[in-house]
C-alpha cells in the first residue's frame, strides 16, 4: 500500500484525524461552555430555585479543585485540537503536493510549541493541584519530552528539505 498520494496510508490517517477533530471540537466547545457556566453554578441554582414548582435540593456548587480539573482538560483539548489541525494541514500537502514547503516546517514547529505548552500545563496544574488539594493525575512522561524534541528536529528537517526543494526548482 502506498504511503502518500490518493487512497494511501496518509489518506486513511487523514480520515481518522478528521473524525478525531470532530470529537475534539465537541469536547472543546463543551468544556468552553462549562468553563463559563461552572463559576456561575450557584447563581444559576438560585435563579432556578425562584421558579415556581422547582425544588433544587442537590448541591451543584463547584469547588476550586473541580474548576482546576476543568481548566486542565480545557488546555488538554485545546492543545490536541491545535496539533490535529496542524497535522491535517501537513497531510493535505503530503497528499496533494509537495510536503517540503516552508509552511510545513512552521506547522511542525507550531506542533512542538503546542506539545511544550501541553507538558508545561501538566507541571503547572500538578503544582496547583498540590496547593488546592485537587485530585489531578500528573503524568510526567519522558517519552512525551523526547517526542517534543523529535518534533522540533523534524521541523528543521522540513525547513532544510524546503530549502533544497526550492534550490532544485530554481536550478536551470
Amino acid at each position: 500500500m502506498r504511503a502518500i498520494g490518493k487512497g494511501s496510508l496518509a489518506s486513511i490517517l487523514a480520515v481518522g484525524l478528521n473524525f478525531t477533530r470532530i470529537f475534539l471540537w465537541i469536547g472543546f466547545v463543551g468544556l468552553s461552555i462549562a468553563m463559563v457556566l461552572v463559576p456561575l453554578a450557584s447563581v444559576i441554582a438560585e435563579l432556578v430555585q425562584d421558579i415556581d414548582g422547582v425544588n433544587l435540593d442537590a448541591d451543584i456548587s463547584a469547588g476550586r479543585d473541580d474548576y482546576l480539573k476543568l481548566a486542565h482538560q480545557f488546555v488538554n483539548f485545546g492543545v490536541m485540537l491545535f496539533v490535529v489541525n496542524r497535522l491535517l494541514e501537513i497531510l493535505k500537502t503530503l497528499r496533494f503536493g509537495s510536503p517540503f514547503v516552508k509552511e510545513n516546517a512552521d506547522r511542525f514547529r507550531g506542533v512542538g510549541y503546542a506539545l511544550l505548552i501541553g507538558q508545561g500545563s501538566v507541571i503547572a496544574f500538578g503544582f496547583l493541584s498540590l496547593i488546592f488539594d485537587a485530585d489531578i493525575e500528573i503524568d510526567m512522561s519522558p517519552i512525551a519530552w523526547l517526542a517534543i524534541i523529535a518534533v522540533f528536529v523534524l521541523s528543521e528537517v522540513f525547513r532544510e528539505g524546503a530549502r533544497m526543494k526550492e534550490e532544485q526548482d530554481l536550478t536551470v
Binding site: 534550490e167 530554481l170 536550478t171 536551470v172
Partner: protein, 67 residues
C-alpha cells in the same frame, strides 16, 4: 544577488526569441524565464553549454558578477 544574467541582451543581438532558444536547447520557457530574470539559484553546466552553443557565445557573455 551578485551574479546577474544578461540573456535577453545576447538574444537581442542574435535576433532569437526565448521560445526559439527553449526549443533549440531543450529547456522549458519557464526555466529560461527563471534564468533570464536572475531568479535562478544554480545553472547546470549542460544547460550553460547548450545555451552557449546555440547562441554562439561564451559563458561570460551571459553571466556577470556585480558587487
Amino acid at each position: 544577488m551578485a551574479i546577474s544574467v544578461k540573456l535577453d541582451r545576447v538574444l537581442l543581438d542574435r535576433g532569437m526569441s526565448l521560445t526559439e532558444l527553449s526549443e533549440r536547447v531543450g529547456v522549458t520557457i519557464a526555466n529560461l524565464s527563471i534564468l533570464k530574470t536572475s531568479k535562478a539559484k544554480a545553472i547546470r553546466f549542460s544547460t550553460l553549454e547548450a545555451i552557449c552553443k546555440e547562441l554562439n557565445c561564451q559563458p561570460g557573455d551571459i553571466l556577470f558578477y556585480e558587487d
